[in-house]
Each structure stands twice: as C-alpha cells, then as structure tokens.
C-alpha cells in the first residue's frame, strides 16, 4: 500500500503512455491511432510535471508575502510543458487534416486497406 501511495502519479502517467502505445501498435483505424498519440502526449506531460514536484511544495508564484522559496516546485518543467501542450494540439490538427485527405483519396480509414492499395 505504501509503495502504491508513493508512486501513484508514476503509475498514472506510465499507464497512459502504455495504453497509447498499445493503441498505436494494434489498432487499424487511422483516427484511433491519432487518439493514441494524444494519450502518449498527455502521459509525457504528466511525467515531466511529476518529476519537478516536491512533497508539500507550493506553486512557483509569489502571489502573497510569506511564501517559503525553499518549498517551491520546479518552474522549468512547467514552462516546457506549457509550450508542449500548444505544439501538441497544432501537430494533432495537422495529422487529422492528413487523415481527412487520405479518406477523400482512398475512401477508407483502414490502414491495412490503404497499404494494400499502395503496394
């Protein structure tokens, strides 16, 4: 139980990454593969934030006097993840537009069929 309560955030983010990888490896539908990529994205963001956390820490904002700078969580992963999320949504939109284009060209979203037409 102690092990579980110590590592619950790790379990959450790596569970998300593994489910995403499983979807990418096994599913045939193109939009479902993109959903899996989104899961991997969220899991990696959660992992980066988890690395910077300090037990009992406060957010790195000096909004009121009397906050102890010794107990503040790491601001650098937060700044990196902030930009990562915005990049993630734009790249996702690009991938979906490619999927729409493929659907108009082949008439299907099944990856096996698209590959058979190609080879």
């Amino acid at each position: 139980m102690n092990f579980l309560s110590n590592n619950i955030y790790y379990i959450g983010c790596f569970g998300l990454i593994f489910i995403g990888l499983y979807i990418v490896l096994t599913k045939k539908n193109l939009i479902k593969v993109i959903i899996g990529i989104n899961f991997i994205d969220t899991g990696v963001n959660l992992f980066l934030i988890t690395i910077g956390y300090i037990r009992g820490g406060t957010a790195p904002i000096f909004s009121r006097p009397g906050l102890n700078p010794e107990r503040m969580v790491d601001p650098i992963p937060q700044a990196l993840v902030l930009t990562t999320i915005v990049i993630g949504v734009s790249v996702l939109a690009l991938a979906l537009s490619l999927a729409i284009r493929l659907y108009h060209h082949y008439g299907t979203l099944n990856l096996r069929k698209i590959r058979e037409l190609k080879w």
């Binding site: 955030y9 959450g12 939009i31 479902k32 899996g36 969220t42 963001n45 999320i85 915005v86 949504v89």
Partner: protein
C-alpha cells in the same frame, strides 16, 4: 490521497474504454474525460499554469477538432 487514487483509476479506465469503443464519437468523449482528469492532476501537482492550458486546450479545442474531423470522414470503425 484516496481522491487521487480514484482520479488516476478513472483516467486509466477512460483510456482503456476509449480504445475499446467501436463508435469513434464515444472514444473522443472518453479522450476528453482523460484530458480533464489530467488537468485536475496538474493542479494537485502545484502547476496551475499547466492545468489551465490543459483544461482549455486538451479538453475543449482538441475534442472540437476531433469531432470536426470525424464529421468529415467516417464515424464507425470497421
């Protein structure tokens, strides 16, 4: 602490359910649930900036873009 356990369990269950559904619209709604719970976890990890970004982008805009894309292609997975 129990609350965090519940949230992580719900998040992983949402991700598994999203991979099982045949109707893509249901999968996208489950994906929005995963993003929303991730933003609550960001808030618990003392990252309010990231929580706001994830709630407004991950849960709102990503879902909208997916729904538009599904409307322009096919809804059911064969």
């Amino acid at each position: 602490m129990i609350f965090v356990f519940l949230l992580v369990f719900l998040m992983l269950a949402g991700a598994i359910v999203a991979s099982i559904f045949k109707d893509l619209m249901n999968s996208v709604i489950a994906m929005a649930l995963v993003s929303l719970i991730a933003s609550i976890l960001f808030y618990f990890l003392q990252a309010p900036d990231v929580a706001m970004a994830e709630a407004s982008i991950g849960a709102a805009l990503t879902t909208a873009i997916f729904i538009i894309a599904i409307r322009r292609t096919k809804r059911h997975e064969e």
